[in-house]
Symmetry: C2
Subunit: 248 residues, 2 copies
C-alpha cells in the first residue's frame, strides 16, 4: 500500500474534556444541539449490547467516552468485528430504519443520544455539518477497505502487527506523543476481541503475540501493557508501508 490516510490532529475540548478527531455533538456542531428536542446520556457496561442487528434505530448516538465495536454475526455463531467506534463517532444513519450490525460496548461506554429526526433534517439546514459527515463516512470507507486487505491477504503475524500498529499510532496521536521513539500503550481489547477483529482464533492471536515478543518486535508487561521499541520494525512485520489507517 502506498497511500497515506491523514490522521486529523485531535483537539482538546474545554467543555467535555476529551480529544476529538472529528465533528462532535458536544463541541463542534451546535446545530445538532439546537435541532435536538431530546438529548440524553446513556451509559453502558463493558460487554453490554447497545444495539442488536435488526433493531429499530430510533436514535442517533455519539460516543462520548469508551469504545464500542460493530459486529457481524452468522447464524452458526461465527462473528467478525467490522469497525470500532471511538469518542465522537456516530451510531445511526439517515435512510436506514434498522441497525445493520450489533453494536457492543467494548469498554464502559457513555453515549450522547438524540432522536433520529433532527439528524436527518440537519442535512439540509447545515451543509457544513453534512459535508463533515460525508468526509467522516468516506474515511471510514477507506479504513474498511484497507481492512479488507488485512482480512483477505495477510498472514496471522502480519494481521497482529497491523492491529498493534494501528492501536499504537492512534494512541500516540491521541496523546499527542511522538511516533519516532518507543511507543507505550495498553491494549484496549482482549485476545478474543482481537481475534474477532482479525478473522483469527484466540489461540493464534496469543501465539503470534508471543512470537512478536520473542523476536523483540514488542515488549509486554502483564497481558495488556505493550511497548513498541521500534515502530518501523513493527510496520515491517505488518507488511505495510502505510500509516495504518484510522479505523481503530
Amino acid at each position: 500500500m502506498s497511500f497515506e490516510l491523514p490522521i486529523e490532529a485531535p483537539r482538546d475540548c474545554g467543555s467535555c474534556q476529551i480529544r476529538h478527531r472529528a465533528v462532535c455533538a458536544r463541541c463542534d456542531a451546535d446545530e445538532l444541539k439546537t435541532l435536538d428536542e431530546i438529548k440524553y446520556y446513556r451509559s453502558f457496561q463493558a460487554g453490554q449490547t447497545v444495539l442488536w442487528s435488526g433493531d429499530r434505530m430510533d436514535f442517533v448516538g455519539s460516543v462520548v467516552t469508551g469504545i464500542a465495536s460493530l459486529t457481524q454475526t452468522m447464524e452458526d455463531g461465527r462473528t467478525q468485528m467490522v469497525g470500532l467506534l471511538l469518542p465522537s463517532d456516530f451510531v445511526g444513519r439517515p435512510g436506514r430504519e434498522t441497525a445493520p450490525y450489533d453494536v457492543v460496548a467494548t469498554t464502559d461506554l457513555v453515549m450522547c443520544c438524540f432522536r433520529k429526526k433532527p439528524f436527518e433534517t440537519m442535512m439540509g439546514t447545515t451543509p457544513h455539518v453534512a459535508q463533515r459527515l460525508l468526509e467522516m463516512t468516506l474515511d471510514e470507507l477507506d479504513a474498511a477497505r484497507e481492512w479488507m486487505l488485512v482480512l483477505g491477504r495477510k498472514t496471522a503475524r502480519e494481521k497482529i502487527a497491523s492491529l498493534l500498529a494501528i492501536i499504537a499510532r492512534r494512541d500516540a496521536t491521541l496523546k499527542l506523543a511522538s511516533l519516532t521513539g518507543p511507543i507505550v500503550f495498553d491494549l484496549p481489547l482482549t485476545r478474543d476481541a482481537m481475534a474477532d477483529y482479525l478473522g483469527l482464533t484466540l489461540e493464534t492471536v496469543s501465539r503470534q503475540i508471543s512470537a512478536l515478543k520473542r523476536d523483540g518486535i514488542i515488549r509486554l508487561e502483564g497481558k495488556r501493557h505493550v511497548t513498541v521499541p521500534n515502530m518501523d520494525a513493527l510496520l515491517e512485520e505488518a507488511g505495510d508501508d502505510s500509516d495504518g489507517g484510522m479505523l481503530i
Copy 2:
C-alpha cells in the same frame, strides 16, 4: 446476518439508455452539469488502469457503462479487490487529494469526467445531492463491512456462493427479473478476479465452482454463463440469510 440491504429499484433513463441505482451525473443531478466547466467522456479497455494508488485525483468520474474495480496492493504483489464500480458509481471524493487504491477497468469502460472543484462546491449549493451522496457512501460502507465478514470468517465454498448470490441478485435486479424462479446470468469476472475479490487463489475458486456445479447448486454453460436453479439453496451455501448486499 439478519439485516436487509434494500436494493433501490433501478430506473430507466431516456437520455442515456442505462438503468441507474443511484444519483447519475447524466440524469438525476442537473446541478452537476451546471457546475461543470469541463465535462468529457473517457473510454478504457478491459484491464486498463484508470487511476493508480497515490495518483493525484484531479477529476471526478461517474461510470457510464462497464465495470471498474478498486484494488489494494501490497509491496510483494499480493492484491485484494475492495470494491466494484458499476454504472452511476463515482470515482473521486472531496477532501482527499490522491487515490487510495488502484482503479482498474474490469470490462470495457466509459466514464463521464468532471473537474474536481465543482464536485466540492456542489456540496454546499445542492444539499439534496449531498444527502444522496452521503446515503450512497453509507451503503458502500455497509457493503464493505458485510464483505469483511465474508473475507474474515467464511470458507472458500461459502465465499464463492456469496459472490455468486450477489452477482445473481444484482443482475436480476438490473433486469427487473424475478428472484423466485431460476436465475440466469453471465459472470462479469474471470476466475482470477473472483479470487482477488474473495481473498482466495484462482485454483481454489475453480475447484469450488466445480464443486457447486457437481452438487447441483449452479449449472454452467461454457465458463461464464451461470444458471442458479434455486436461489435459496445458493444462499444456504453462502451461510447467509441476508440479501447479499449491493457491493457488486
